[in-house]
Symmetry: C2
Subunit: 334 residues, 2 copies
């Protein structure tokens, strides 16, 4: 920066002012400095700036696993949203095969991020309060009592109700549900189960625990296993509401394997609208969350906290929309 200042014939501070976008800099100075910057192909030292300013313009994104399509697509959306605001994203995977440590942020990086977007999966969002970090956190998922953090969530209950109502309208009445948490209702799974039960109830149907298929993880594998188990119990069903698309794709696989046709014998509906859902055989009806909207809102809330421009210190909750996408897996009426 010294060199640039010398070359442009201005002071070091002026160069700094130009590069950090200080308001009161004349256009003349700005061009002169930028010319010198170009000539010397100077690039500012981020580490020094970080040290001095105390900010890194990096935000963390804590997700269970990048290899799950939903989270990969979410990460993509968050990276783009953050990029628009001049922030870089550091991804932390919270489900790790190599250690028992499930801290959302490795201690090493605690002080190199300005804030965190935290997407817990089956974890109860109460864990958020245990994060114990000194930067702002935005949680993806419904707000829980006592949480100080901002939350961005979709209407899980309403969306699952819509999905369930959709198959009810097709005339299905024995509707299984896939993805129930075996250890009692928490977080996202609890809300989705609520939506499912509400829909049934409003059709005068009593939810039947025999049609609850548990899955602690929501991978394809678990969808296959849970569906096989459900079939093995001898329970009869004519539809499956799945708590995410991976489970649903696994279910499709297991149903076919057992000679059940989709959608003729069983309607299947998923949740997430990951890319695969459009291309599976049959293609999957699902709930499409507004991923970009979620990402934008989460980044916006977080950046407001980081930069101190949030209107109030009270925890906020943003609820994003969803859409029911009807594809082949629920196409044929009963």
């Amino acid at each position: 920066m010294q060199d640039v200042a010398a070359r442009a014939g201005v002071s070091v501070k002026t160069v700094s002012n130009v590069l950090s976008g200080y308001e009161h800099v004349s256009a003349k100075m700005r061009t002169r400095v930028m010319a010198a910057v170009d000539e010397l192909s100077y690039e500012i030292n981020i580490a020094a700036r970080n040290l001095r300013v105390g900010r890194t313009h990096v935000i963390g994104l804590a997700i269970p696993e990048l290899s799950q399509a939903y989270f990969a697509e979410l990460a993509d959306a968050v990276i783009r949203a953050a990029g628009q605001r001049g922030y870089t994203v550091l991804i932390e995977q919270t489900v790790r095969e190599d250690s028992t440590e499930i801290s959302a942020v490795s201690n090493m990086r605690k002080h190199s991020i300005d804030g965190l977007i935290y997407s817990p999966l089956t974890l109860a969002p109460a864990d958020v309060t245990q994060l114990n970090v000194d930067f702002p956190v935005v949680v993806l998922g419904e707000r829980v009592h006592g949480s100080q953090a901002d939350h961005v969530t979709m209407s899980n209950a309403a969306a699952t109700r819509a999905a369930t109502t959709h198959v009810l309208e097709l005339g299905r009445r024995r509707i299984a549900v896939l993805g129930v948490q075996p250890d009692g209702p928490v977080g996202t799974a609890a809300s989705r189960l609520q939506g499912y039960e509400d829909a049934l109830t409003s059709y005068g149907i009593e939810p039947d625990p025999k049609l609850f298929a548990a899955a602690s993880l929501w991978h394809r594998r678990n969808g296959v296993e849970a569906t096989e188990r459900l079939i093995a119990t001898g329970a009869t069903f004519d539809a499956i509401v799945c708590f995410n698309d991976a489970l649903a794709l696994g279910a499709l696989r297991a149903l076919k394997h057992n000679g059940l046709r989709v959608p003729e014998d069983v309607s299947v509906v998923g949740f997430d609208d990951i890319e695969d859902s459009s291309y599976s055989t049959p293609s999957l009806s699902t709930i499409s969350p507004r991923r970009d909207e979620i990402a934008q809102e989460a980044v916006a809330l977080l950046v407001e906290r980081i930069e101190g421009t949030a209107p109030s210190t009270a925890a906020r909750e943003v609820v994003t929309g969803f859409a029911l996408i009807v594809r082949e897996s629920t196409l044929v009426p009963f």
Copy 2:
């Protein structure tokens, strides 16, 4: 750090030595310092260390798109491999919808990473030499003449030859190929095309350009479109070798849509072994690269360069293995 030193009754430098793992520190001192660290729940300031040391222990990973399953799974593997060596990964997406800029590393972050793992897709790896960065780079893909960078690659040609030979052994003879680059052979696509042609030739079959289905991008969408186009030309074929799984999954969809049965009428084989391939209908035969091996090798090479422990300055090339996974899409003999 001052406070910790005072609390432990040692000098600041000793604290620094303990925390940075300096060799000549007695166990007594180490425990004493660590106790003080715990009591004050002190955490070292990364920004200051970065500034002083000139390293960040962050490596960049430049991939086309995180939302593509292959790259998400690769990123996952790289993050784990890097984590084992004490490095954090910063992901850069090189295909961006929002700008024309396709620089592998945004200038802002150029100086906050110690090295880069670069996975070009359709780009010719020659672009690597234009990267013009002052840190080491490891390229995923075959080494090109003149490249100074280390390369980690799988045997693309051999793997595609194996895939093609597999369908030849089933008795298929009119074998289409999906994913050919429309603008001439470059990079990965070129190697895979070579392997396909080699396999045909060794069976005494002349490659037929009418069976070349071009796709500039390798998404499911392009697989559908290219397959539809291929069918529309009226060309007859009894197998499709696809340059990646997304294309293959798109092809499965298009074939079904056109009343062609897989594997009875057409054998389909993919490349990458992404998770979906096991769960599609029919499940997809494919080439499984050793993703973990690729990630481990790439990180190892890069870290050696960063830390100056590489045995020589000459560019190295590591070739990783692969496996042919046979599933339903190539199950029935002709």
